[in-house]
């Protein structure tokens, strides 16, 4: 039966790209528990739909399912008044930031402050820009792969990426954190 080999393929795929899936979920949902649940949902859905996977880029197919499961959770959450929408509420974003232990060395303080500022600004971006930045800059997906994950034209990927970069750049500059350029 075809389901056995295909199922194995999905298992391998999900486990190999589990960090990427969780990272995407964590950035989209802002919560550890929700991200883990969304990835588990995605795995079940992928396993169930394994015989519908017919070639193409496997990682993009898997991440597309993860993303859809996250968006479904976001949609449910935005209807739930007990929860705060994750966009446009910096205070809410800060609650999800990783807490580091006491940093008494000045340098470590600087670097952790910088990390926190980037995380806050990234979490503040509307989800359409945040996801494209995560996929491109952190997961290093190509335009085509991102287009497959978002199920959107390549042109949309390019314009969202450009807009997302500009917004984040501007936010970080205004935050006063880009005094010392990184990289080059």
């Amino acid at each position: 039966m075809i389901s056995t080999p295909s199922r194995t393929v999905v298992d391998e795929l999900a486990l190999r790209h589990l960090d990427a899936a969780y990272n995407l979920g964590r950035w989209l949902l802002g919560s550890e528990q929700d991200a883990a649940d969304a990835v588990h949902d995605a795995y079940l859905r992928a396993a169930r739909a394994c015989d519908t996977y017919a070639g193409g880029n496997a990682r993009a197919w898997w991440l597309a399912i993860v993303r859809n499961c996250c968006l479904a959770r976001l949609a449910v959450r935005s209807k739930d008044t007990r929860n705060v929408a994750i966009d446009g509420d910096p205070a809410a974003a800060e609650r999800w930031l990783p807490h580091t232990g006491a940093d008494d060395i000045e340098e470590r303080l600087d670097s952790s402050r910088r990390t926190q500022q980037i995380d806050v600004q990234l979490q503040r971006l509307p989800v359409v820009y945040r996801e494209v930045l995560i996929l491109r800059e952190i997961e290093e997906l190509s335009y085509r792969e991102i287009a497959d994950v978002l199920e959107t034209p390549m042109g949309t990927v390019m314009s969202r990426l450009a807009r997302g970069r500009a917004l984040l750049q501007k936010a970080l500059t205004e935050d006063g954190t880009t005094g010392a350029p990184h990289g080059l």
């Binding site: 588990h40 070639g55 993303r67 910088r114 980037i118 990234l122 199920e151 990289g183």
Partner: protein, 256 residues
């Protein structure tokens, strides 16, 4: 290259999405333009920040264990487990399918044969549907075969013979790179009336055995030879129309 063109191309260059020839033209401009240099440095600074300073969350061990356990479970047990989860999560499932169901829906109807030949057929149909579903069947938009061919040259090992049949009613509108199995293959996209035709240039290792057209869900797959390379064409066109195109391509390949 002027600065306006260069700044439009800058992100594509930065992301490694420009073909070789255009990259070189861009670099020639970059050498002499301080503002494009500054813009590139800024993009890179942002990337370094995101790669090295933004959190990259690793999947917690508990999640990994959950999935490993599910993966190890026998298929029958998993089906039950899935059903229970599905009921519990009914609301979010419905939304998930609404958000991303189209492509999967189309694939669901595909044949489930295990032979390599039908796997190839499935890949080709899926690629065609995926491209249509993504509303981006083409990566390089051009009606000029002299633009389409070099675009592939920078991205793929074997660049295809690119021919236009606009005079015969089948106009080349562009190309993309897609996967057949694990192989990246060039796809030439033609338009006939309101129908799109994907022409997959097949690597020698996956040349299909059969010659009869294959039909799935109102789509037809035909095989032909274009400029000596084996191709498979997929379209929702009327079968006689697609056969006419196939004969045209075969004839031009023989140099008639």
């Amino acid at each position: 290259m002027d600065c306006k063109t260069a700044s439009d191309l800058l992100p594509l260059y930065f992301d490694g999405e420009l073909d070789r020839a255009t990259s070189r033209e861009f670099e020639a401009h970059l050498d002499e333009c301080a503002s494009c240099q500054a813009a590139l440095i800024e993009l890179d600074a942002l990337r370094q920040s995101l790669r090295h300073e933004a959190a990259r969350y690793k999947a917690p061990q508990a999640l990994r264990t959950r999935i490993e356990r599910a993966a190890a479970a026998p298929v029958a047990a998993r089906a039950l487990q899935n059903r229970v989860r599905w009921l519990a999560l009914a609301a979010s499932w419905v939304l998930a399918f609404v958000a991303g169901g189209f492509t999967l829906e189309a694939w669901n109807h595909g044949s489930a044969s295990v032979s390599e030949e039908s796997q190839l057929t499935r890949d080709l149909f899926a690629s065609h549907w995926r491209a249509l579903a993504a509303a981006a069947p083409i990566d390089v938009v051009s009606t000029d075969q002299h633009t389409v061919k070099p675009w592939f040259a920078g991205r793929i090992a074997v660049s295809p013979t690119v021919r236009d049949y606009a005079d015969q009613g089948y106009a080349l509108i562009g190309g993309r790179i897609d996967y057949v199995g694990s192989e990246r293959v060039p796809v030439l996209v033609y338009r006939h009336g309101k129908h799109l035709i994907d022409v997959f240039v097949l690597p020698p290792a996956v040349v299909p055995a059969g010659t009869a057209p294959v039909r799935q869900q109102g789509y037809v797959l035909e095989r032909a030879s274009m400029g000596g390379q084996a191709v498979a064409m997929v379209s929702d066109m009327d079968e006689t129309e697609l056969t006419r195109f196939r004969d045209l391509v075969d004839a031009s390949s023989r140099g008639e």
